[in-house]
Symmetry: D2
Amino acid sequence: MTKPIRLGMVGGGNDAFIGAVHRIAARIDGQYDLVAGALSSSPEKARASGQALGLAADRTYDDYKSMAIREARLKDGVEAVAIVTPNHVHFDAAREFLKRGIHVICDKPLTSTLADAKKFVALTEKSDAKFILTHNYTGYPLVRQARQMVAAGDLGEIRVIQVEYPQDWLTEEVHNKQAEWRTDPSRSGAGGSTGDIGTHAFNLACFISGLTPDSLSADIQSFVPGRQVDDNAHVMLRFQGGARGMLWCSQVAPGNENGLRIRIYGSKGGIEWAQENPNVMAYSPFGEPTRLITRAGNGMPPSVAHLTRTPGGHPEGYLEGFANIYLEAAALIRGTGDGADLPTVYDGLLGVRFVDACVRSSARNGAWIDLG
Amino acid sequence: MTKPIRLGMVGGGNDAFIGAVHRIAARIDGQYDLVAGALSSSPEKARASGQALGLAADRTYDDYKSMAIREARLKDGVEAVAIVTPNHVHFDAAREFLKRGIHVICDKPLTSTLADAKKFVALTEKSDAKFILTHNYTGYPLVRQARQMVAAGDLGEIRVIQVEYPQDWLTEEVHNKQAEWRTDPSRSGAGGSTGDIGTHAFNLACFISGLTPDSLSADIQSFVPGRQVDDNAHVMLRFQGGARGMLWCSQVAPGNENGLRIRIYGSKGGIEWAQENPNVMAYSPFGEPTRLITRAGNGMPPSVAHLTRTPGGHPEGYLEGFANIYLEAAALIRGTGDGADLPTVYDGLLGVRFVDACVRSSARNGAWIDLG
Amino acid sequence: MTKPIRLGMVGGGNDAFIGAVHRIAARIDGQYDLVAGALSSSPEKARASGQALGLAADRTYDDYKSMAIREARLKDGVEAVAIVTPNHVHFDAAREFLKRGIHVICDKPLTSTLADAKKFVALTEKSDAKFILTHNYTGYPLVRQARQMVAAGDLGEIRVIQVEYPQDWLTEEVHNKQAEWRTDPSRSGAGGSTGDIGTHAFNLACFISGLTPDSLSADIQSFVPGRQVDDNAHVMLRFQGGARGMLWCSQVAPGNENGLRIRIYGSKGGIEWAQENPNVMAYSPFGEPTRLITRAGNGMPPSVAHLTRTPGGHPEGYLEGFANIYLEAAALIRGTGDGADLPTVYDGLLGVRFVDACVRSSARNGAWIDLG
Amino acid sequence: MTKPIRLGMVGGGNDAFIGAVHRIAARIDGQYDLVAGALSSSPEKARASGQALGLAADRTYDDYKSMAIREARLKDGVEAVAIVTPNHVHFDAAREFLKRGIHVICDKPLTSTLADAKKFVALTEKSDAKFILTHNYTGYPLVRQARQMVAAGDLGEIRVIQVEYPQDWLTEEVHNKQAEWRTDPSRSGAGGSTGDIGTHAFNLACFISGLTPDSLSADIQSFVPGRQVDDNAHVMLRFQGGARGMLWCSQVAPGNENGLRIRIYGSKGGIEWAQENPNVMAYSPFGEPTRLITRAGNGMPPSVAHLTRTPGGHPEGYLEGFANIYLEAAALIRGTGDGADLPTVYDGLLGVRFVDACVRSSARNGAWIDLG
């Protein structure tokens, strides 16, 4: 048993959503110990949150810079830090840690601006520390299996990708912490639904298909009066090699909670997977009945076995998928794994390009915008 | 009991698919007697098919024009005719009957060219005979219920429409009668999947939402080498009043048989319905659990009761939905119903405009094309 | 084209349910002409119903006996008769026709008493006319395919059968024609839910598995105060050869419309099929992913092709399944088919034995009762 | 932040299944620290397993008795112990800890014999330490919500319970550690499927319905040649007050992984929930459309909010449900919660009675056996 990795956290205070998710994800496999944090931009809240989490008082920081400086000097300072703030803080926070050799696990989208995203790439290329972006849906075992099936040619030449991520929580005007920063362009970036969930859908399409996106045409909308960012987006995609796709993301689609769903069709078969019931995937070899492939069920390849914890039929969910990112990140940090399937800063840059292209395409009445 | 309507048929010979469907649809409720036919463009096949169907030899015609001329003179000649030929024949055949006062029930799409479609409108406007286009999916009871729910404001202001119709039967090169004319632009028209199934999806979106489409942007493809018409199409839609939509149709999506599915979202709720299991519809009032509304189940409005024949849980299907078009057509012909929900020549024109716009938009790299 | 079979009907007047179903089933394939009827035990209603159906006045009879006598003498009298009355009338009505050589298509359960059922068997054995019992669920194409798969050994040795048929329409006290006779032991027989729907479930289990039932143990209930027959039944089954089963039928299970569902498990695989979405069947070869077999889809055996009318993905339903019984009955009557898969009077006897055994077993606190 | 509870573990060595589950469940919410263990009955394996888990060498014990004695004396000895051995060890192991005031969290079924189960009750009644049985399915938030709905009268008077737990992993003869002890009556008890999974189904039925079981009639089988315990069981249940149930458990039903499913019907409504997709529950108020209630979705009562960690649509699964047992156990141990919904030793006794009654009833040809 290797000792747990000493983990710090930036953001994720008491009323945050995604910080708690990261903490559970880090805890599930016992690979991390949370030992320090700058948990809020409000010092009072940062301290209260640290206390609630049982952090030592002297390792509960008022701001991430102080934390980076001091932890880097400590003999048992954090080895890695999870950055779970609003988007516009990601880059500045990551810089403080990466330049001090502390590994960074960062929530998505990478940044709120394309300029920051490009700087982020340069930053990570200069650092010896590792950088992992939590496009957590790539951690689901069946998503990995799907990616391997595509790579193995089971679907033949990929032709069509249909991906969508509808939600409904912003159907009406909402006032709470989550809604506020996620609909504020100065914190979330120019994209609303495109940044918050569209990037996930886009990333998943690229991840499973293994295809490089070429260009997109978008029609984005803000249906709720007064909303400053998009809350619904229709996007057509072109991939290098000729495959085509459609992407829909929405936060105003009543009846949808987190309806991330992907379908990929090739010359030899098709697959379908949906996040809300992630333990089953439909696989349709052309001309044969559809197969229901289950997580950890008949036909699970050995290559994904390390990402499941329970037998088939005992459902795993969002937290386990998220934990898989942390699990592989731990291996990468320790040098026991290559992290080959982990989302990178380049995926992050591509995601920010996606948002930027959606906004620009829509402003130009759907003109095709290069993603290169 | 009113006597059955005397029905003729043009097309629908022995190896046709849709002709047999029309005949069953006409038969289910006992409202029609098939008494005459010009069942094939090949006289031999026309006669053999007439004999197989038990038609009298002297009412089995070699061509539709002879049929129209003679039946119009007979005392007990056909009162209505079903036209179930390939698309390019619809207009010429319909003209022969409409100008002689014989009602026409015609398969979709209306025509293979926009020019013909416009002439078709003029033709029907000059005729006293009725014209019904078999956009049969509008005959499903839950589709009617959905349309009424939208009209009643149950979904609030409509914002987003997602409609799709994937199939897989043309995933590879296919040689049979069905595939051949449907992929031959001289017979089917410039659209392949757009004409054959995209028009159904488009019509359904308009029918349920009650919205007038304004313009579209399309990216259409022919994935199978050598195919002369599109076999996959990605379309973004704008409706008057601000609602937006996406439409996907495909004949190269392995695992899909007839996956027509529609989702409509408004400011107050959403609905979802899929043709392959048409006896249930999900209705999600915003902020409340989703309801599963069943055909002929709890909450069926009296206005659709005449379109169901079995109690809830005894599934009705494609043929019954199709039969509902024939049932209401019979009432329209007899003057006992107003046919207010029946698809018209204007729906047909709009469908042909849809195909035309998809082809033109795609040729212009996705430029938005008016549908007006 | 052979001419349609001249069909009469006993029962099925204006306010009946199953009579209309039989008429549509007879009509769908154009194999029958309804030409005579004794449509109600009330002469006035019989006449009004005949008129509404367009029957000739002189072939609308006040009672089935007059009908049998006169039709047997007519040159173009009925060749077959559909008996769709309450259960207690089946035997007497059928006798009048069978003894005059008129084929009988009869609704289930065969009779309201075991004594009648035994006499029924003797009656049909003496008659040259054909007798068909409308256990209509056996007409679904996927049910046939399932039966063939079991017979071919695809499931290995059958071990376990789980079959159920829940409804909810009798959850509260109901007063309408349907409810009244079906809960009146003098008309429906000693069984309530067991007779009305349990017999269907039981028949389906035997039909698909090909197994002979040996004995049963039952616990039946009448939950609604004042109800004279069972409205819920729990039954354990033993089959010759060692397979075991459970059967549940209920008319007091809120949320269930016609939830007939069957699962069969053997040493090599399992299958599952449900009537409410009858166009798909799950097939699970042991150790492999589950397959979704669709009606008229990939892998449909030629032997069931005559029982489907639409391509895969264009759903067929209850009426088409019912029509398949009529279709094969027509072939049997004409001598062009052997009716090998049609439900017989022996199936009917077994069904009545099933009801009788449920009632007796339950009265004896679940004692195992032989079905032999 | 209260400090984590110091936890020990008995059983759960390297090749065990359920031990790893308990460890994750204990870890997810950060409420426990695993600090000691007697992880295997083989001392070598116990030590290797302890090392693999990062336990201190001096707190890795060769047997549970040594562990209990020493830990009870340590100042920072374990406060609670998880017992995850084969069934026949539960009682003896628990005794060592309970009598020393160490709380016990024990896997189910309670014991392998009824005699042990009765002694277990006496043991816990004498101890001040807490005892929690991990009937983990009761930890699913929607299961709690279902229980509350029944208690609130949403379903009216309960009439019918249908519960089942099919698996397929023992369809053929299997030789591995899991299969071996679970099919060995000396270790698992007289019941095979009845003990391993039937007890879960039975417990769930009682838990949600709030009903006291009265008696049962069973027909159990061992389909696989040579198997010493049941691998399939059919059970009819009677509850005090008149409700009736059926229970099916099987380990030889191909296509089923962990198909625990329950349906409960009352005079006013019905509910359905299945473990394999545990984030949704169908609720059917009689006479209204079925509602799909989602975990953490619209209509979640505040009383279950502490049992969910992610928003609706981000699925939670088996491990989170299991963790809820540990979470509430922690509160019970600390005195901050009353553990009112936690499974108790009495539930355990009832489960063992269930197994015993199944075996005895089946031996007596389905005689009704009291569960009192």
